[in-house]
């Protein structure tokens, strides 16, 4: 007998998770599709489902001293409407799926789904977001890049759940985001690019680039970013070709039913080059 749960409190949820494995269900906009069944039959859930939607404590978005905290059941639409959501995330969410989906979908769900093409992920990687995980054993704070370990793989123990996402405040002077989708709405990215930089006069004090859908996870290159930090803008621009080449070596796009690797790599690099030229 499958026992689905609709806990009202976090404690109740964590206790259930400690007892046995559950499928955590937030907005369900991915799960309802992934677990689809012949019309009229129940979805093919292989574990009991724990619906998080009634846990009131997780339905929040809040600006704190050094970060924006997004609760695990906060919908993307709510995040879009929140005044202190960084513009980058507003842009990402505004181009994501469709309003109907965004009213159900959550940031936590987009992370847990861990698709290489997950729309919010490029933003979260770029901002060095932290995932807050809770269990009866306690709390873990895991950087997004460590939390997502591969295609649809995440560092989540059976008794844990995502309760919150922390997006650090940043004071970038430049920000760029491009979703290359096959159409303008309801589309899975072929490539996503997000770039950010902080410049003062002639030098770059911080520069970041994140690529989606061209590697098994969102890709950033800490080594390249470290090398560029502190450089003069003019020197970075002069070095454009070798920077692009460094990234091109890292990208490992695939051929699939949506696009091909030549296109994905070339466009990803075009977008990087345009971002650097814009500094």
């Amino acid at each position: 007998m499958v026992n689905h749960l609709l806990p009202e409190t976090l404690e109740e949820a964590l206790e259930a998770l400690a007892r046995k494995q559950h499928l955590l269900f937030a907005g369900g906009t991915d799960l309802m599709v992934q677990k689809r069944a012949w019309a009229g039959l129940p979805r093919n859930f292989e574990h009991p489902v724990l619906f998080t939607s009634r846990i009131a404590k997780l339905n929040f978005i809040e600006k704190r001293s050094d970060h924006l905290a997004v609760g695990a059941t906060c919908s993307l639409e709510m995040m879009l409407e929140y005044p202190d959501t960084p513009d980058l995330f507003k842009t990402i969410i505004g181009e994501m799926a469709s309003p109907g989906i965004r009213n159900h979908a959550t940031l936590a769900g987009n992370i847990a789904n861990a698709s290489p093409a997950g729309d919010t992920l490029v933003g979260l990687y770029l901002y060095d977001a932290t995932i807050v995980l809770k269990s009866l054993r306690g709390e873990r704070l895991v950087p997004i890049a460590d939390f997502i370990t591969g295609v649809r793989k995440i560092d989540l123990a059976q008794d844990e759940m995502i309760t919150e996402i922390r997006i650090p405040h940043q004071d970038f002077t430049h920000i760029d985001y491009v979703k290359v989708g096959p159409r303008k709405a309801d589309a899975i990215s072929k490539i996503a690019f997000a770039g950010a930089a902080k410049t003062n006069d002639l030098t770059v004090s911080d520069i970041r680039a994140a690529f989606g859908a061209v590697f098994k996870t969102v890709l950033r290159s800490p080594a390249t970013e470290a090398m560029l930090k502190g450089m003069r803008i003019a020197d970075i621009k002069a070095d454009l070709a070798s920077i692009c080449e460094a990234y091109a070596r890292l990208l490992q796009p695939i051929d699939d039913q949506r696009s091909n690797k030549e296109y994905r790599k070339a466009v990803a690099i075009n977008l990087l080059a345009r971002f650097i030229k814009s500094l």
Binding site: R183, K184, I188, N260, V267
Partner: protein, 697 residues
């Protein structure tokens, strides 16, 4: 009221559809209904060695070729498509048997437990097995090539297109005192009925086919439903209980018919003056594993070889190739979209290769009234293309933009297509094959019932026909009744295809309405019937493909403006303008609705909708991966309708349903071509293809 026939009514089906009250086939329920699931071939070609069934619980059965009482043939045109295979399969997804039972979970489990052993054979995907070859010539044929100053040749390629109708294919059926009754999502009730008679080897009155609400068909529900109707009828005949067979979206996209991929080779003999002396065309289309309607699709493509132009000397040939892939079939445009893309690009490419102004060059060849058609028939009715081109150019600012964009090299482009569409069945189809019959019946309460087999599949024919009859008879539209066609009630007015419904069926309905009006006796039961008679002057020779291929032609001009992103190669559709001559709009808003939808589908065919197979397996199997445009993708559209009444159409109406699609692809391809300054010979022109062109020509 004839002056105001074009004035728009609210669609009579709209309230039910908007409120969710309309019953689509999946909404229909019957007591003690069983469910059928199809077990399909996982391989592209091979022999079936053995089928091993699991233990079948009480009430669960399989249905296969052994259960067919009549012929194991789906009646379409050629007898090459089986209902259930006996011992060989020809494509991935071919139905082999049905599992039927009351609980879907158990049906699904049993279907998965069936083991079929195959001996795989080498499938054929190359276009080498021609099963139909047609050819015709006009004037001197291709003789002028021998003395040509110059020959210009290009090959054009088009891909699959999926109809992507709203609800997947399906039927629900039951056994009613010796009669099999099917209700389904269909375009052609009598195609289904005739197929059932043959499969069941029964009298015509032992099968009854009724249309459910249809949320779009686009040709996809023309011949394909006959296959699953036969499967289901065989099952009902065996089990004698209600059974429902409804596809899921992925199943539908993987196994149902799509637009034929085509390869079109064009060559022009150019005189010393730069004029086209002759055109040679070869059209190859991929039928998939069964011929189906491919021969008729091929002939429509070939007849469209010169598009909206007149070229005096012509040699056209074509082949239908069988491959071990999912069968292709009817789709709005029916071969014309492939050919019109090719010829529209070709004339432009000739002009460019000769260093001539493409627009001026094209205008020189535009067909005029009394010109000979490609098949040496005659364009009898007035052709208003020069006026229509002028209007389209004025609305879109074409002249200035087409001069400026190439000069600025700013990745903007504007493209204009000229096109026509032959209305009704090709050749002698209407007179020899269809022989449409219509009936109007006035009951004792003076309600007039329209009894025709034409299906409202979203195009608005229920509203348009009622309006037509009300207008002619000068009676309130509320007193005109038009229910979903039921073959027990309506005569065979032919299929709802080929842009024929208003012009041909509507023409007959209009005649019947006039007759009924003239003989009108209040309170008396009266009937008026009409049957199609080909106008005497229409001559067509099936064997030589010579003469009048169509009784009339609708015409159009479409302009599309695009901006191509130089970093992502994505195409932004900026605006589209169209001018159409469909004779006379029976309802302006309905025609504009057809225009918006048709053009969106046509433009998407040209630049967005990718479907391919990999070793016979369709790669884009759902609407996540098969990209049809959303409202955000469709450009703003400005549409103008030109009156050019056709004498034999009701109030002058000609065909409209397909016309609005066929010009979309060449217009957007030309616009992209201008934006990137490369030759486009293949659609869809995706960002990936555009990148390839920019980088490597």
């Amino acid at each position: 009221m004839s002056e105001t026939i074009s004035q728009s009514l609210m669609r009579l089906d709209a309230p039910d559809k908007i409120a969710g009250r309309a019953k689509y086939v999946a909404d229909l329920k019957m007591k003690d209904c069983l469910f059928a699931l199809t077990v399909r071939s996982p391989i592209a070609k091979g022999k079936i060695l053995q089928v091993s069934l699991p233990a079948m619980p009480e009430g669960y059965q399989v249905v296969d070729h052994r259960d067919i009482p009549g012929e194991n043939i789906v009646k379409i045109i050629y007898d090459d498509q089986v209902i259930f295979p006996v011992d060989e399969v020809k494509y991935i997804g071919q139905p082999i048997l049905l599992v039927v039972g009351p609980d879907k979970r158990i049906v699904e489990r049993l279907a998965k437990a069936i083991k079929i052993e195959f001996r795989e054979e080498q499938p054929v995907f190359a276009w080498e097995n021609s099963v139909i070859r047609y050819q015709f010539t006009k004037g001197e044929g291709d003789a002028p090539f021998a003395s040509a100053a110059n020959t210009i040749s290009y090959t054009y390629t088009t891909g699959y297109q999926e109809q992507a109708y709203m609800e997947p294919q399906g039927f629900i059926g039951h056994y009613d005192r010796g009669k099999i009754v099917l209700v389904g999502s269909i375009q052609c009730p009598y195609y289904v009925k005739n197929a059932l008679i043959r499969a069941l080897a029964c009298d015509p009155d032992k099968v009854r086919v009724i249309q459910a609400a249809v949320g779009g068909a686009f040709g996809g529900k023309e011949e394909y439903p006959s296959l699953i109707a036969c499967e289901l009828a065989v099952a009902i005949n065996k089990i004698k209980k209600p059974i429902k067979l409804i596809f899921e979206r992925e199943e539908d996209m993987l196994v149902t018919t799509k637009r034929h991929p085509a390869q079109i080779k064009l060559a022009a003999a150019i005189g010393a003056d730069g004029a086209i002396r002759a055109l040679r065309a070869h059209v190859g289309i991929d039928a998939g594993a069964d011929i189906g309607l491919s021969g008729v699709v091929l002939s429509r493509a070939m007849i469209a070889a010169t598009g909206a132009y007149t070229i005096d000397n012509l040699a056209v040939s074509g082949d239908v190739y069988l491959t071990n892939t999912v069968p292709t079939g009817a789709f709005r445009g029916f071969g014309a979209p492939q050919m019109l893309f090719a010829i529209e690009m070709f004339i432009e490419h000739i002009a460019k290769d000769l260093g001539r102004d493409p627009l001026a060059y094209r205008l020189d060849y535009l067909a005029k009234q009394h010109d000979k058609t490609s098949t040496s028939g005659v364009f009898r009715d007035p052709i208003l293309m020069p006026e229509m081109v002028e209007k389209a150019m004025a609305m879109s600012g074409y002249a200035a933009k087409s001069e400026r964009y190439p000069r600025e090299a700013g990745y903007r482009g504007i493209g204009m297509s000229f096109f026509l569409h032959g209305c009704g069945f090709t050749g002698s189809g209407e007179a020899k094959t269809i022989k449409a019959k219509v009936k109007l019946e006035k009951d004792s309460e003076d309600l007039v019932h329209i009894l025709i087999a034409a299906v409202d599949m979203g195009q608005g024919v229920h509203t348009a026909m009622r309006k037509l009859v009300a207008s002619i008879m000068e009676i309130p539209i509320e007193t005109v009744i038009y229910d979903y066609p039921d073959t027990d009630q309506v005569p065979d007015s032919g299929p709802t295809v080929a842009s024929r419904t208003m012009m041909i069926v509507g023409g007959l309905v209009a005649r019947a309405a006039r007759a009924l009006k003239e003989s009108f006796i209040p309170g008396q039961h009266q009937v008026a019937e009409e049957q199609y008679v080909q106008p005497d002057y229409i001559k067509w020779d099936e064997d030589t493909m010579q003469g009048d291929a169509y009784p009339a032609y609708s015409w159009g001009v479409t302009v599309v403006e695009v901006a191509v992103d130089p970093h992502t190669y994505q195409v932004n559709l900026e605006h589209a303008w169209s001018v159409y001559d469909c004779g006379k709009a029976i309802d302006e808003l309905m025609v504009l609705g057809q225009a918006d939808g048709g053009l969106a589908q046509g433009i998407a065919y040209g630049c967005l909708e990718v479907m391919e197979h990999d070793q016979g397996k369709i790669r884009q199997k759902n609407l996540t991966d098969y990209i049809i445009p959303t409202a955000s993708d469709v450009p703003a559209m400005t549409t103008m309708l030109i009156d050019n009444p056709y004498p034999l159409g009701p109030y002058g109406a000609k065909g409209v349903g397909e016309l609005t699609l066929v010009g979309g692809a060449p217009a957007v391809a030309k616009a992209i071509e201008m934006a990137i300054n490369k030759r486009i010979t293949k659609i869809p022109a995706t960002p990936e293809a555009i990148m390839e062109l920019i980088k490597h020509g």
